[in-house]
């Protein structure tokens, strides 16, 4: 079981440069698998371009109470990167200046940020329609100070999107750590008890499924049906939607793929499952990702690979939506993860 971040373990893969080298060479060398950009050309598809900005995804820091084996953020208790209040204010300014509909708070565990509650209440004062918090669930149980988070979420009409790799203990704990499943179930019950995930409530609770290994997710709708049935029968838990997300070959998942000698097969299966219809709906076309230090990225995955937006506007402090919309979206071979099968995004499938 993973206990430290790649960064704290001085793992070579904590270097984004090294990750990008791996993703651009080896199996993707001349004569091997087609690179993502040439595959788009082969399918006569245009490279993804920014459309109307709808979602601002803000990563408030990489600290997390868990050290999940598949984490593309390389988050963990040893990560100290954290957004300053000044940068949070810059995010609020963007929300006021633009017509962004959704703010999507992620991490690490965003709830661990000391200014998390202040930030959420300030966002609520803007015109943003939807506040998403990506909660790992166990944080609610991790410390007494977090036990009332469900009430806080409810007061601020937060849309909760929570990771639960599977509706069974073994698969969940093998990916996210021992005890995670039972704590997640307790947290889900608490969220249900304040009205989250109930059919007669407008408090949305969605779950995220991602495969516990080197394989692609199955059909989202069928998985949702099975999750709903199992969680209801076994624990009387309700939730709204299930999002099936493909694991992208970045950071700890890339490390796992290489260490388990699954990397080449996994990349081949992503390329083989390339779905041209997914390209038009990629999340990078309507989302901007902000890192803890205020830098801008096309998506959270590009953030973790250090691929900053290809624009003169690369930081919140000189945010200019018009100029940003003219940029080209940075792509590499990890993008195959978002175009495989029914596609994948932070809101599940895209086709």
């Amino acid at each position: 079981m993973v206990s430290k971040s790649l960064k704290a373990s001085n793992n070579l893969l904590s270097s984004t440069k090294r990750q990008l080298e791996i993703l651009s060479n080896g199996i993707f060398s001349e004569g091997g698998l087609p690179k993502f950009d040439s595959n788009l050309v082969a399918y006569e598809l245009n490279a993804p371009r920014p459309l109307k900005l709808e979602i601002l995804q803000v990563n408030v820091g990489y600290m997390c109470n868990q050290v999940c084996a598949h984490c593309h953020v390389d988050a963990g208790p040893d990560r100290k990167e954290m957004m300053s209040r000044e940068t949070m204010e810059l995010c609020l300014n963007v929300l006021k200046k633009t017509k962004v509909k959704t703010i999507d708070l992620t991490g690490g565990a965003p709830e661990m940020h000391p200014d998390f509650r202040w930030f959420v209440t300030q966002i609520r004062l803007t015109d943003v329609e939807e506040i998403i918090v990506r909660s790992n669930l166990t944080i609610i149980m991790a410390n007494k100070k977090y036990h009332n988070l469900p009430h806080f979420f409810k007061q601020n009409k937060v849309h909760i999107i929570s990771s639960l790799p599977f509706y069974k203990k073994n698969q969940t704990d093998s990916q996210r750590g021992d005890g995670v499943f039972n704590q997640s179930i307790t947290a889900l019950k608490l969220l249900n008890s304040v009205g989250y995930g109930k059919s007669n409530s407008n408090l949305h609770l969605d779950l995220v499924y991602n495969p516990s290994g080197a394989f692609l997710p199955a059909n989202e709708k069928i998985l949702e049906k099975e999750f709903k049935k199992a969680l209801k029968i076994d624990f009387n838990i309700d939730f709204n939607q299930l999002f099936a997300i493909t694991n992208l070959p970045i950071s700890r998942f890339l490390d796992y793929l290489i260490a388990s000698e699954n990397y080449e097969d996994y990349m081949s299966s992503l390329v083989e499952a390339f779905n041209p219809k997914a390209v038009a709906n990629l999340m990078c076309t309507n989302t901007l990702s902000v890192s803890w230090d205020g830098l801008l990225y096309d998506c959270d995955f590009n953030q973790m690979l250090g691929l900053k937006v290809a624009s003169p506007i690369s930081h919140l402090r000189n945010f200019n939506l018009g100029l940003l919309q003219e940029r080209k979206i940075c792509i590499s071979q990890h993008c195959y993860g978002c175009t495989a099968g029914s596609g994948s995004s932070c809101q599940g499938t895209v086709v």
Partner: protein, 111 residues
Amino acid sequence: MKKNYYESDDLKKFKNITDWNPDLGEKFFEYYNSVFKQGTLSAREKSLIALAVSHVVQCPYCIEAYTRDGLQKGIEKSEMMEAVHVGAAIRSGASLVHGVQMMNVYDKLSM
């Protein structure tokens, strides 16, 4: 010739069987894909049946394909192993039931 009769990469080339006979090859794949669609039996149940049969016919390609398919469908390893035992039980039962034939012949020929 390749060193081994079975090469895992050959599974990816399965679709190439249509190259030498497109008509029959395409008919086969159309039939195959229809069989595995959700019907009266769920896609999950069909995947487990396929896994059991894969072991009975001892097809390494099929075993890889349906273990992978089972993982994707959230089938647990305990379920997979039970399915393999179902296949194994039928296979061993099919051998053992011939023991009756042996007993019949023995009894007929013996005083």
